[in-house]
Symmetry: C2
Subunit: 243 residues, 2 copies
Amino acid sequence: MTRFFVSPEELTPEFLVLTGENAQHAKVLRLKNGEEVLVCDGQGKECLCTISDVSPGQVSLVVKKRLESETEARVRASIYMAFSKGDKLEHVIQKATELGAYEIVAFPSARCVSRPDDKSLKKKLERWQKIAASAAEQSGRGRIPEVLVVGSYREALSRAAQADKGILFYENERATTLRMALEAGEYQTISLLTGPEGGLEEKEVAQAMEAGLQVCTLGRRILRCETAPLCALSAVMYASGEF
Amino acid sequence: MTRFFVSPEELTPEFLVLTGENAQHAKVLRLKNGEEVLVCDGQGKECLCTISDVSPGQVSLVVKKRLESETEARVRASIYMAFSKGDKLEHVIQKATELGAYEIVAFPSARCVSRPDDKSLKKKLERWQKIAASAAEQSGRGRIPEVLVVGSYREALSRAAQADKGILFYENERATTLRMALEAGEYQTISLLTGPEGGLEEKEVAQAMEAGLQVCTLGRRILRCETAPLCALSAVMYASGEF
């Protein structure tokens, strides 16, 4: 079923109106009176609606049923990814959204080659949020993950450490596996932190441990910086019983 | 440590010579006499070598130690991916190689929009094999996964069914999770089959069951055709104790 995202205040109890990009999208899909669509507030609430009128630039809907989204993951997984070159962050935002991430947090680290300046950052954040919204729509999610940027590595660490489990993946870690970390006690929220192309510095790994994160391996093969967070997220979703 | 792949017959017991692209690569990396490198036969055997001479187009090595690769996954996972649009197959070949796939098999299915003709297929296969080789080198693997194409959906099914576990992922499956399939008995080899952009037809899913494959869900979110195989492979690697 086609899925539209509106702001929470637009999700009114009986009648809804789609405008702007949503109305345009409905036109492209050639939706007609009587057809059913899902309208979501991007925060887990949904309405099953019937189209009552299609006008240029405006689609009117009658609410049939209010629902809680059933496609959100039970565990809230936050992806912390260091700034990286090219469109890798965009790739991870799209895929992590499909895989069920709760939020995606970008941060700077010592070996980051690319780090957007404040001016371009605002534009990038808008673009990143759009990618998350579009992936949420396509994958049938009830919530659009927020995309955030934190100003320093330290800030990323202290934010990540607030989750029930905070995990940093390091290619030189051999002993502690993700499984060990996940099986040591219950969790509702989890942070998964990975480094940039050149990896994290030893000093940064030590800082993370001081901040309360656990350092884990993702196996004996070296994963690219855009592969590691998605591998870890897939494993967490599997381990927490999503599939 | 830098890693070079040579053919099995080139992996001689005492002295080795790198030529062609390998010699060029060594030049780019400015490797010098006395430095150590790993030379692999792409099938799990490796030699720790010391550089004894760097000449134009040729690098001579002395073998210090013969090793069995320690970076190959314990479970042999075969990725069966339907032909898809653009560079999605290339993306999956690269990432699946990093994640430890044993082989990647491309196949046609009813809703495949894109299917290369025989003429372009030979070129594509060469290119795909190169992508696998390069990803194997970068991720530190001891084996280059083979990239294969089978001519029909039926052929893909019967080949996939030969593994200890053969699993097809279908977005309309709700009851059987990957976890149920993996926890029902030991396995050394596993096939993971996913459909094209438009998904598999119901008829095709029924055919797969007849062929002996198990139909599983990857969760309540709809994954893109290039995300599903990598998500499944990550989960299998996690479940089989790789990390």
